[in-house]
């Protein structure tokens, strides 16, 4: 069982899993890092991104890159309504945000059921080819996701670390009052952060829906994944999201291939529980 062939396939599978997981977790960790909001409706926005891609690429047949980034952009734009109506009430309020956003999640998911019905749909893949290196197989669309993740991760990290807005966001996340005293407009910064977070979430949702399946309930799993990745890596930390995603993806691939599905689930849930008990701020996060 433990041959080099299998091991290399396990690594490839793990990397492709990690790519999706990291992408899904980025928006979640941003919202927590800046606004201290635990976005329980994260999955719902991913799902909206999925439907947006379905409409733009599946139905209207726009060119893939335009469809992918355009639909994420559109969802983020439209979601500013939710920012105004809902999220605004919950910034910096941990407890209320949890339950309030659970409510938002329920509302969005079941509204989607009413609009689109519950059946599962699929989004056509832009490239169905499969690369083979001897015994190894990598589907082209997974490679594509890995590249998108790297690009988004890189751009995002660059933005947060080096741009003015990024600097403003980090200041706001550390101490809102002082940041405001420095001339940073909290409302504008929050809106920008929200927009970027939802953009990444919708993008991840579109790719997730394309890889697996699209339905109003598809967001449940991305939400759980985002939680686990961000707990592992540390809430509010971008390198943490990358690390958490890698650990979860490679771990799942390794454990499921060699020990089966049940063992993999128990170990991942168990380790999250243990990590939460011993080091709740994650591997790369900061204690509050």
């Amino acid at each position: 069982m433990f041959t080099t062939d299998i091991l290399s396939q396990v690594v490839i599978n793990g990397l492709s899993l990690s790519a999706i997981y990291i992408l899904v977790a980025l928006g979640f960790t941003l919202l927590f890092g800046i606004m201290k909001v635990v976005n329980f409706s994260h999955g719902a926005f991913a799902m909206l991104g999925g439907y947006a891609l379905f409409i733009s690429y599946g139905s209207y047949k726009l060119p893939y890159i335009i469809a992918l980034f355009g639909s994420a952009f559109t969802v983020a734009l439209i979601s500013l309504i939710f920012e105004f109506l809902v999220f605004k009430w919950f910034y910096q309020k941990m407890f209320q945000s949890m339950i309030g956003l659970m409510g938002l999640n329920m509302a969005i998911v079941y509204a989607s059921v009413m609009i689109w019905d519950i059946s599962e749909r699929s989004i056509p893949s832009p490239d169905q080819s499969i690369l083979t290196f001897g015994e190894l197989s990598i589907p082209m669309d997974r490679l594509w996701i890995m590249s998108v993740t790297l690009v988004v991760l890189g751009l995002f990290w660059y933005f947060v670390t080096y741009s003015r807005q990024g600097l403003a966001m980090r200041a706001a996340s550390q101490d809102l009052e002082i940041a405001a005293a420095q001339g940073i407009n909290p409302n504008r910064i929050y809106k920008l952060a929200f927009f970027i977070a939802i953009f990444m979430t919708a993008l991840a949702g579109g790719l997730y829906a394309q890889t697996y399946a699209l339905s109003p309930f598809m967001g449940e799993r991305p939400l759980m994944v985002a939680f686990i990745v961000v707990i592992l890596g540390g809430m509010g930390s971008i390198p943490g999201a990358a690390l958490g995603g890698l650990i979860l993806g490679l771990g799942e691939s390794f454990l499921s291939t060699f020990y089966g599905g049940a063992v993999s689930s128990f170990v991942s849930f168990g380790s999250v529980v243990i990590l939460l008990i011993l080091r709740p701020w994650g591997l790369l996060g900061k204690p509050e």
Binding site: N13, I130, P139, E252, S253, L255, T257, G261, A262
Partner: protein, 391 residues
């Protein structure tokens, strides 16, 4: 010639007479239980639509003529949310509040198992689905409940025997299934049938929710299987399993003793679906199906027709015919007549055949004809029509 005003009066009176007769017809409530929310909604909707089509057909022909009276059947459908408690509450409401005597559904075993005690106690005829053998095989010997769709016990042995005959060189089969109620019942059953036909079996269950199967598939490929059975997987998962298996380099044969998921597989896996063999519960290309499809399209539009819909239509029609033949809506008599319906053809599945004495201790399993199909060049081609063994 009659004057204009007299003609008008005549037609008014005629309409009144007709509508009064219509109102004079008594309503016969037929209960339906199925998931209308959550993950199982597609099946619940299939149940609802199949029943409604049968009811509309009966009403269009003037109502259900029972003995000397004519009844207008009406569907009262409740959501069981695909859970045991939901089924229980829905059954309670139908039997005790709505005073319904005939129920079609539910679909999932947990729901059926909690409905059966209620309907048995209320002497209510129940035509259900559900994979668990315990639905028919229980202490009470299922006096009032019947199962109207094939379960793995019915189609499994015949299909595997067919495969063994057509592909004698196959040695090892892989079963990957979800760890839910269906998966956990079906996998041991299939395992027994495969072993009886000379196969070696490797199995793996996954937790429903994740759709990423490549690690499990890599595990499967390492086992050097030559047949991959998608068994009880839901259509979405079955399609992804097939697609990811092919993408991971699995070269053996893939088929499904269960489903059917053929449409979804062709849709999601595209060219990778070539050569896929599956159970089909309904032949949508057969001449007898065309009328059904046309009526469905008129009522419900263009979406995918869930393959269970004709089965529920069939069940409801059989129920109506047995009420007609019994000449009464008394449930004891209807139940007795229902047991003797062998030979009646509702138009889609051929003559009724009850079986299951050997497996369940009672002949309340409807043995439905089923088909084996293969995907060739992107199209579904029928390879064989089989019938469950009556034992």
């Amino acid at each position: 010639m009659l004057s204009k005003s007299k003609l008008k009066i005549f037609f008014c009176l005629l309409t009144l007479a007709v509508t009064n007769t219509a109102f004079a017809q008594e309503e016969l409530k037929i209960g339906g239980i199925g998931p209308l929310s959550g993950g199982g909604t597609a099946w619940g909707t299939a149940l609802q639509r199949g029943m409604q089509m049968a009811i509309d057909e009966v009403n269009a022909s003037g109502g259900l003529k029972v003995g000397g009276k004519t009844y207008t059947p009406k569907l009262v459908m409740f959501d069981d949310q695909y859970t045991a408690a939901g089924g229980r509450v829905a059954a309670d409401r139908l039997v005790n509040s709505e005073k319904v005597n005939f129920i079609v559904g539910p679909i999932g075993s947990p729901s059926v198992l909690s409905v059966v005690p209620v309907t048995t106690q209320g002497n209510v005829v129940l035509l259900s689905n559900g994979f668990s053998p315990a639905i028919l095989k229980n202490e009470a010997k299922s006096p009032y409940n019947f199962r109207t769709m094939n379960s793995t016990v019915e189609f499994g042995p015949a299909m595997i025997k067919w495969y063994r005959q057509n592909y004698p060189e196959a040695k090892k089969v892989a079963l990957i299934a979800p760890n839910d109620a269906v998966g956990q019942s079906v996998v041991p059953q299939l395992e027994a049938y495969y072993i009886a036909n000379g196969f070696e079996v490797w199995k793996e269950l996954y937790d429903r929710g994740s759709k990423e199967f490549t690690p499990l598939i890599t595990r499967m490929i390492a086992q050097k299987v030559d047949l991959f059975d998608l068994n009880s997987n839901a259509p979405g998962e079955a399609a992804l399993l097939l697609k990811q298996a092919r993408q991971s380099g699995y070269k053996g044969k893939i088929w499904q003793v269960g489903g059917p998921s053929v449409e979804e597989i062709i849709d999601i896996a595209g060219p990778l679906a070539e050569g896929f063999i599956s159970l089909n519960v309904f032949d949508f290309d057969a001449p007898v199906a065309q009328k059904f499809i046309k009526t469905y399209r008129q009522k419900f539009g263009d979406g995918v027709i869930n393959a269970q819909t004709p089965g529920w239509y069939n069940a409801t029609q059989i129920l109506f015919e047995s009420i007609r033949r019994a000449g009464t809506i008394d449930t004891l008599k209807v139940r007795d007549t229902l047991q003797k319906m062998d030979g009646y053809d509702a138009g889609l599945f051929g003559p009724v055949s009850w079986g299951g004495m050997g497996d369940y201790g009672v002949d309340h399993q409807l043995l439905l004809r089923f088909w084996i199909v293969e995907v060739k060049g992107g199209k579904v081609v029928t390879k064989a029509a089989l019938h469950p063994d009556k034992h």
